[in-house]
């Protein structure tokens, strides 16, 4: 019996309308109080290619991707063979039995529902026949998995509120599948969903949606972006929430501006121009955009301009795997641009943190007067996550950093844009138009002195560069601190992770505990690294660094910035474009420690 603990996968053709039915299924389980982790595995194309939707259901809250499919809903003849092969022994295969299929495996159980036939009989319009097949298999699943049918029906009504005449045929389709299953199969199966309260007050939301919302609450007014998967939905979410929350009621006018730029260079240029001028502005992109933005990032670093940038990482290098996930832009973001540059990075690990880091990111960018890059990824950005609800602290304002207004300018003798007045390496700035006589300065990417004057005196420039290093040290004290997870008395080994890997770590630790291996864990949340990060590493003999890239980029950054012996840091790497699993982490650690390893389905893609 697998109650509230299984993985179900849907194999569809993209553009066939399966996405909303699948999402409905996942959300229904969530509504029943059971945590879910749905994942869309989609092609870089619009219509006609294989697409999958994988839902992990787990009431212990282990929501990382897991190998082994307990039930496959195989709707796509193109991918049939591999879909069948992927079912775990003992698992189920639900398929459209309108068509006769050879099923070579005898270690799995098959459930044939003649979906096409049923829908063709019931519906007449071709598009409806096609669409309702998806709803019908959800209906079958409600019976097979013993789901709360009222919840599902209720959701359909919600979904089609306003287009009420669509409700009845949808419910119809649902019941078509459900009744067939009830009639021909022994319902429920030994995989079941039982109403629970394991979700608590959590919400189900995509990281990009959360990021866009966070920007609204952060007071961002300007967004400039260029479409690129998987970052597009950050801008779209910002737009959606702005339309809800930022229209001036009296006039219907916008308290925001969103520009679809002509490319990524222009997008970040606009965001920089707006920030220079005192509006909070951001852009969002993915790998290729990061490369294109790097000249401007260097300018912002050197001229000390705040800007917030969301990098929703995808599979690199080059155009790479645009619809797969990776954490492989760490180095290119940390040191983006030529010359000596370093950038502040934030690593959210769930949508709640995408929201929080949008809010905090603007504060940091303005406080530190430098670009801040939020390093999300496709898995986080484009999938719905069961996550803590959004919160803001209403007693806190925005931290606009060191900005002088006209009165303050009146009080000072001589304004020096790049003077380190407070000893923290952070100078004062002014917005254009502030004061008729004082505070104007020239922003430039060329070498300048403390008064923003152009200089070719290398000694002066070196002094400015050293202050920038000092400012980066200050950053260590204000960026989000690491979070410590499992802490075992006397553990000699540690594990460092960040971003979306976090969701798989507790489960991996559990697996290792079964082999009597206990690790202290630390989740990095920001670069530059605070002292605690170094301390954690130094207090363990060996530390595993788990990353979703080939080259162990975070490990490099740790070694480089903390000046640590790399021998202490063991890379655990996964870069096949799918989210890292607990099993992968556990097995690689076991392997490294020379222990027996449990079978894993991911075959050889994770290296070192």
């Amino acid at each position: 019996m697998r109650v509230n603990d299984f993985v179900i996968k849907f194999a569809n053709v993209n553009g066939s309308g399966s996405a909303s039915a699948n999402a409905l299924f996942a959300k229904a389980i969530f509504r029943m109080g059971v945590p879910v982790a749905p994942k869309n595995i989609f092609p870089s194309n619009i219509q006609g290619l294989p697409t999958w939707f994988e839902v992990r259901v787990n009431d212990k809250g282990y929501l990382g991707r897991r190998e082994g499919i307990d039930m496959m809903v195989a709707m796509n003849p193109q991918s049939w063979d591999r879909d069948v092969a992927e079912v775990a022994p003992g698992g189920y295969l639900l398929y459209d039995s309108t068509f006769i299929r050879e099923i070579e495996r005898d270690d799995i159980k098959t459930i044939g529902v003649p979906l096409t036939k049923l829908c063709n009989e019931r519906f007449t319009i071709p598009r409806e026949r096609q669409l309702f097949k998806n709803v019908a298999y959800v209906g079958a699943l409600t019976a097979l998995l013993d789901m709360d049918f009222e919840v599902v029906k209720g959701m359909l009504s919600e979904q089609f509120r306003g287009k009420d005449k669509l409700i009845a045929p949808n419910v119809d389709a649902l019941e078509l599948g459900r009744n067939y299953a009830l009639k021909y199969f022994d319902c429920p199966l030994d995989i079941q969903v039982v109403t629970s309260d394991a979700v608590g007050d959590r919400i189900l939301v995509e990281g990009n949606d959360a990021a866009g919302l966070g920007c609204v609450f952060a007071g961002a007014t300007v967004a400039a972006w260029y479409p690129i998967t998987p970052s597009t939905s950050v801008a779209e979410a910002f737009e959606k929430y702005c339309h809800q929350l930022r229209i001036e009621p009296e006039t219907g006018k916008k308290k925001f501006a969103i520009v679809q730029a002509e490319d990524e260079l222009a997008a970040i240029g606009m965001a920089i121009g707006a920030n220079w001028n005192g509006a909070r502005a951001f852009t969002a992109t993915s790998g290729p955009g990061i490369s294109l933005m790097s000249e401007f990032l260097g300018l912002a670093y050197f001229a000390e301009l705040p800007v917030l940038l969301f990098n929703i990482q995808r599979g690199g290098p080059s155009t790479g795997m645009p619809t797969r996930t990776q954490q492989s832009d760490i180095i290119s973001c940390a040191y983006a641009s030529h010359g000596d540059t370093k950038h502040v990075l934030l690593f959210p690990s769930d949508p709640t943190e995408c929201f929080d880091f949008a809010v905090r990111g603007f504060d940091l960018a303005e406080r530190l007067q430098t670009p801040v890059i939020v390093m999300s990824d496709l898995d986080l950005g484009m999938n719905e996550w069961t996550t803590k609800p959004f919160k803001i602290d209403e007693t806190m304002g925005f931290d606009r950093g060191k900005v002088l207004n006209a009165e303050q300018l009146d009080e000072i003798e001589r304004f020096g844009r790049y003077l380190d007045v407070d000893g923290d390496g952070i100078p004062y700035r002014t917005y254009p138009g502030t004061h008729p006589e004082k505070g104007a300065f020239f922003t430039r990417g060329t070498s300048h002195d403390e008064y923003a004057g152009y200089t070719e005196d290398g000694t002066v420039n070196a002094r400015v560069m050293l202050r920038l290093s000092h400012k980066f040290n200050t950053a260590k004290t204000v960026v989000p601190a690491p979070e410590f997870g499992q802490k075992t008395q006397g553990a000699t080994m540690g594990l460092i992770h960040f971003g979306t890997t976090a969701v798989s770590v507790p489960e991996a630790m559990g697996m290792l505990a079964d082999s009597q291996i206990h690790l202290d864990t630390m989740r990095l949340r920001a670069f530059p690294f605070s002292q605690e990060v170094e301390d954690f590493i130094l207090s363990h003999d060996k530390v595993f660094v788990v990353e979703q890239n080939r080259d162990g980029q975070m490990r490099s950054l740790l070694v480089n910035e903390c000046g640590l012996d790399p021998a202490r840091l063991v890379p655990i790497l996964n870069f096949d474009g799918s989210p890292i699993t607990a099993r992968t982490i556990a097995n690689m650690i076991l392997e490294h420690l020379g222990q027996a390893v449990e079978d894993r389905s991911a075959d050889g893609v994770a290296a070192e």
């Binding site: 979700v199 007014t221 501006a257 520009v259 222009a266 240029g269 920089i272 121009g273 004057g453």
Partner: protein, 351 residues
């Protein structure tokens, strides 16, 4: 460069404008360009225009890219903020700045290398968006700062200093701007202050994208015989299609122009630009016609100057974006951040 402090005392006899300021108040640091560089005349014309327009300098923002031309914002309006960005990317920075605060005046200064090559895409899209700014290209047909390579505005017949031939046709930025829909397009000559200053004044009073292609000879690298961007060549081949005089909105019109050849166009701030038809066949309100006329004349080796195209009916970026009246950068927490209740509602919707 600012290493030589320029004495800024007010000479008692210097004329004052309505703000009580002298021309000196609109100047910048001392120029470090080559003696005689056309760009310095453009800076002087900007100073003159701002002085005459009574602009409070701190309400102007100076935007530029990289090049000798892009350096010039240091040499005028020292009380304005300036942003010397990266090569070819001034338009995007100016667009962002504009979105943040549309209540300032934006003067973008660029070069022909900066705009017609590396920045061509950004230029085109700033035009298309009707960013409310004055965009000046100081066009010398060459890359001054990198020592004299041909730029993309160099005419096919124009030869280099060492006799190098140019195999490629010039990009005519003014014609481009017209085709891309800029609502104010002019061409002028750094050597013709009488034409240039009123054009700058009109452009600064225009709401929307105002483009001025100023032929501004590079005395060091492109002022020889055989160059079509030399002082001499431009002087000899200039053909002004439309004269433009700027009339502040308080001034009444005195009818001292010949009937029929004069059109008054009211700009957005109620000032007017008085257009004098100098070429009978030319209509600066006919986009396609103007383009044809310019292309035909330029093909004959003429340098067509004056106000080439004006459309006061086009909306500018902020209107297109349907933004609130107040500058976005003036909105605070209260205006921008919804409260916890609104957030809670969103949380509920996500359950």
């Amino acid at each position: 460069m600012t290493y030589i402090a320029k004495p800024k005392f007010h000479h008692p006899k210097l004329p004052l404008n309505d703000l009580g300021l002298t021309r000196r108040d609109y100047e910048g640091a001392m120029s470090t360009l080559c003696a005689g560089c056309g760009h310095d005349s453009v800076s002087a014309a900007i100073v003159e225009a701002c002085f005459e327009l009574n602009l409070p300098a701190h309400r102007v923002a100076k935007m530029s890219g990289i090049g000798c031309s892009s350096k010039t914002p240091t040499y005028f309006l020292s009380k304005s903020h300036g942003f010397n960005s990266v090569h070819g990317r001034m338009p995007s920075v100016a667009t962002g700045a504009n979105l943040a605060n549309n209540s300032l005046k934006y003067i973008g200064v660029s070069g022909d290398g900066d705009t017609a090559s590396i920045g061509f895409g950004q230029f085109a899209h700033a035009v298309r968006r009707q960013v409310d700014m004055l965009y000046v290209v100081e066009n010398n047909g060459t890359y001054g700062l990198t020592k004299g390579q041909f730029s993309a505005t160099n005419d096919r017949v124009s030869v280099g200093r060492k006799g190098q031939k140019n195999a490629f046709d010039a990009i005519d930025l003014a014609a481009m701007a017209i085709q891309l829909g800029a609502s104010f397009v002019a061409r002028s000559f750094s050597g013709d202050k009488d034409q240039l200053v009123p054009l700058i004044k009109a452009a600064l009073s225009h709401k929307g994208f105002a483009f001025i292609d100023v032929i501004s000879p590079c005395v060091t690298f492109n002022n020889h015989i055989g160059s079509t961007k030399s002082f001499e060549f431009v002087r000899d081949h200039e053909h002004t299609v439309t004269g433009a005089d700027y009339v502040p909105h308080r001034e009444t019109i005195t009818a001292d122009y010949e009937e029929g050849s004069v059109i008054d166009v009211t700009l957005h701030d109620q000032s007017r630009v008085r257009l004098r038809k100098l070429d009978a066949g030319y209509d600066p309100s006919d986009q396609a016609g103007a383009l044809q006329h310019i292309m035909a004349r330029q093909a004959k080796g003429e340098v067509v100057t004056g106000l080439l195209y004006l459309d006061t009916g086009e909306t500018e970026l902020k209107e297109k974006m349907e933004m609130v009246a107040a500058p976005l950068n003036s909105l605070g927490v209260a205006e921008l951040r919804p409260d916890m209740a609104a957030l809670e509602k969103i949380n509920v919707g996500l359950r």
